[in-house]
Structures are given as C-alpha cells and as structure tokens.
Symmetry: C2
Subunit: 311 residues, 2 copies
C-alpha cells in the first residue's frame, strides 16, 4: 500500500473513471477522505451502496470544499459548469484536475473560473472500457496505462509532481504535453477509431441486403470488434465530437483520402499494393503488444475470458 | 466423442483454419485418417512436428486421393488451381468443400473442375483469429460459431446433410444460403471491417503530427482494437478484396456516404443527431452478446486474459 497523499480527495462525477479512482484510492490508501458528488440522485445512491466514498452529495460544491485534490470526471461539455460551481469553495493550494478526453476545450472552459492559489492541472488517463456508470469501475483500470497531464506554462512544478505521483500510485505512467498536441494525438488514437466504429455499426444497422439477425449471427467474422467501441457512452462521445472538432475533422479528411485510395486499389485489382498495405499494418500491432499496450493472446484473449478454467 | 464420420479426410492447406480442423477432427474422432497437404515444405514440416495428420505431402493430389471428404483451406485466389490439381483423383461420392471467405468466386473457380459424381458443397466457417499458420489453430475455434454452406441448386441432399453434421460435430451451427447472398452479407460483417481496420492503421502509421511511439503508447484509448483485424494474413485479405470486389465496393460506398453525413454533424455541431446515432449503435452490441457471439466481459475480457489468476 502506498502512503496517504491527500487528506481529502473530491471526486466530481462517479462513472467509469471516477468510480475506478475511488476504488484505487481506497485500495492504496491515497486519501484520508473521499468525497463523492454527482448530479444524478440515482447514481449517487448507487455509489453509496457500493461504498465508494466517505461523504456524498448531489452538489459538486459540497464535495470540493476543503479538498486537497479535486478530480472532475464528467462529460467534457459539462466541465465549465462544474468549474463555475466549485470555484468559490476551492482551497488555496488545492490541485484541481480532470480526466476529460479533450484538453484545449476543457482548459478554455475551466481555467477562467480557477481562483488564484489553486493549481489547475488538466489530465487524461488513457484507460477505459465500453461500460459506464459507478458499477463499471475497477481498481486496476489504470494499471500500465498512460496518463497525460497538460499543465499550463508556469504551472507550479511541485503541484505537477504531486499529481504525477498520485497517478503513478494509481498504476499509471505519466506523460506531460501541451493541450493542442494532446488533442491532435488523441484525435487519431481514440476519437477517429470511436467515430469510425459508430459509423460502421450504423451502416450495418441500416442495411437492407442483410437482415439484422444475419449481421448479429456472423459478427464474429470482424464486425463485433467495432461494436465494442460503438457501445461507449453516447453523452461522453457526443461531447468529444463537439469539443475536439478541428482535430477530428482533420483526421477524418485523412482517413477518407486514404480510404478512397484503398478503394481504387480494390476497383482496379492492384493486388501488390493491397498486399503491401496489409503487411505494413501487421507490424503496428506487433509494436503495441511489445509495448505492453495490448494482450498477446489471439482474439484479445476472448477465448480465455469465455473459458477461464482452461487458461 | 462423436463417432467416425469419414474414413479419410484430406486437408488441403494447413493454416489457421486447416490446422484447427485437424485438431477438432482428431479430438472428436471424426475421421479414420487425416491427410495433410500444403505447397510449402516448411509449413508441412511444422504440421508434421505438431502431429496434425496421418500422412503429409506437398502435393494436394496425394492427400485428395481416396478421400471421402476434401477440405480446401487456401487463400481464395488459389482455389481454382487446387481444384484443377485434385480433380483427376477425386473419388466418386466424395464431398469436396472449402472454407473461403468469398463464395461466388470460389464456385466460379472450382466448379468447372469438379468431376461427375463428386459432391461440391462450398462452405465458410465464420471463425478465426488474427494469427495464421499451423501453430495458430485450436480445436475450439468453431465452437458456437456459424458455418455457412452454399450448395448449388440440385446438390445432393444427403451429402449436404453429411457435411452439416460434420460441421456440427466440430462445434458449429450451420446455415445454408446462395453464394451471392453470402458474399453481400460477408462484405458488411467481415470484409468492410477488415478493410476499414487496415485503412485506419495505415492512416495513423503515416501521420506526421503524432510520433509512432505516441500512437503505440496511447493505443489503449481505441486504436489498438483496429490493429487486431489489421494484423490478419495479408495474402488472404488481398485475395478477398480481389474476389468479392463488387459487394465490397458497394459497402464502401455506403460506409463513405454515412461517414460524410456523420462528419457533417460534427462540423455543424449537431449534438442531438450524434447522440441519437451513438445510442442506436449501443443496442447492436447488446444483441451480439445476447446471441452468444461475443463475450460479455468489458474490453473483450482483456483484463481476464492479462491476469487469468484473478478471474
């Protein structure tokens, strides 16, 4: 167990990420007190049943008061509103951070509300599953994953160091970069894949050539992989699309350009070019597995998950 | 253990599918003799080391001679050549089938060579992983998955029934349809997902905004899912693209049309429309899980695969 790092941590939002933080903070003993806030009374009641915190409120301000670390884990479109609500009670010296999937927009929304003496250090843990809500979280979620911090130029170095150590205690590795670079990188590694997955599942769902039952029955031939990302939280992903628009439109343009080129190879029967592309992409997966960012088991280890007794 | 169904089964091609068949045929005792043929001496030697068969040859004709069931498991572009090679030795009453991902092209390539009295019943097991070669196969590959047969009108009903029972003994459920319908359905559930995955991995690999190391490090945010399909066998997928061209071009056109519409929603900030699409796609995954075609565990159960001791 790591040692206590903060007397009071406030978790604003208690979905997949917030509730995973609650669990790992508890397991590692990183906080004296965990204060949980969420606007939904039903979600709050569930968080209480799961014993995720020490105090509970539907008002972010109640949780943030006197907290040494405030972690905002809400859809990125709601960040500004949360910052405005909690600003008056933030303690001097406190660290304010978030876990949002876009960073420039979060900075634009939250920074204007942050009082002097409070250290605002935006963050983004690169971890998640397609499930959402307080039941979906688990303490190991951040293990071996990266967390990106995007402190402003001139941010307090000690505060950045404390937050870095916090995420490391949660199991993460930490990188620091500026918000614009974060948004461009995440547009390709995360936002584009989700948008493409939503799109292909939509295309298949609309199709009149194949019945819905056929699409479901034969989905193990590839389609099912996309349905996982396309099952992610709609509110979160609507907000990502609206709040990282420019970078996403840039990546969509590149993707479509490349797809037109690939389509042309298929139309004109350019087998050698297809073979060259299909070989190059294979190497990328190998690198991801070598970097410990995916399992080496075939088919994502689904076989193991279905039959754990045989592993 | 099921009972012996064939005296001699010939496996032409001993990659992922062929070697999985060898393993399940042996485990279930479905054949008196398994004859293995592959053109590559290295692959054949490996198959022999793995004891996948009872006899081995680099000539398909040696394996097919006297076989009661001949299963051709080669890239679809090679089907015609294999059919021409084995035709002279096929036994009257034998069943000739294949496992190719496209069916109209396979029928066009193989049917002209099939001698009278031999039952040609094309097939396609909807199962696989991103790995290839004789080491990649496993006996459970077909368990709970569908296998599609596309017999010609007027095919011998008893032979279709025997082949159906064979696939059922391998763990599959069996559907029958015509080749053109198969090719259209598979274009959406399998071919389009693979092509899109290859494309997005190519786009990311080309990107100058993000370093390759960043793409790898942060891939757990979505991208890594696509790299699995994009790591599939390049020869197999080149052939699929070349041999199901019309259906694939049709699906690509629909996909791109839908993507342009989604891109427009993002550009114009149409949050309600995005939310509606992202909600509809969530239901599709639920149906796939309910149909037993994917694991219910979050993140495809990767967490279980990484830490089987905790399951």
């Amino acid at each position: 167990m790591a040692q206590r790092m903060f007397d009071k941590v406030a978790l604003i939002g208690i979905g997949l990420i917030g509730s995973s933080l609650a669990r790992v903070i508890r397991r590692e003993g990183l906080a004296g007190e965990i204060a949980v806030a969420t606007r939904s009374p039903a979600t709050l009641a569930r968080a209480q049943e799961l014993r995720l915190g020490d105090s509970y409120s539907t008002h972010a301000r109640d949780a943030a008061r006197d907290a040494d670390l405030v972690i905002v884990s809400v859809p990125v479109g709601a960040s500004g509103q949360v910052a405005a609500e909690i600003a008056p009670v933030l303690k001097p010296g406190a660290i304010l951070t978030d876990v949002g999937s876009t960073k420039a927009s979060v900075v634009a929304q939250m920074a204007p509300h942050v009082p002097d003496g409070v250290h605002f250090i935006p963050g983004h843990p690169i971890a998640g599953t397609e499930h959402s809500g307080p039941d979906a979280g688990f303490a190991d979620l951040f293990e071996g994953r990266w967390c990106i911090l995007t402190p402003e130029a001139g941010a307090d170095a000690q505060a950045v160091e404390r937050l870095t150590k916090f995420w490391q205690a949660c199991g993460s590795k930490v990188d620091v970069m500026d918000p614009a670079h974060h948004d461009m990188v995440l547009a390709i590694v995360s936002h584009l894949p989700h948008i493409i997955a939503y799109n292909i599942v939509g295309t298949a769902d609309d199709l009149e050539y194949a019945s819905k039952s056929e699409v479901i029955k034969y989905s193990a031939s590839g389609f099912r992989d996309f349905t996982r990302l396309a099952a992610s939280d709609p509110t979160m992903w609507r907000d990502v699309c609206l709040h990282n628009k420019d970078a996403i439109l840039e990546m969509l343009a590149r993707f479509s350009e490349d797809l037109a080129s690939l389509q042309r190879m298929i139309r004109w029967g350019q087998g050698d070019k297809l073979f060259e592309l299909f070989t190059r992409t294979r190497a990328v997966r190998r690198s991801i597995i070598e970097a410990g960012q995916d399992v080496d088991a075939p088919d994502f280890g689904r076989h193991v998950a279905s039959h754990p007794e045989r592993s």
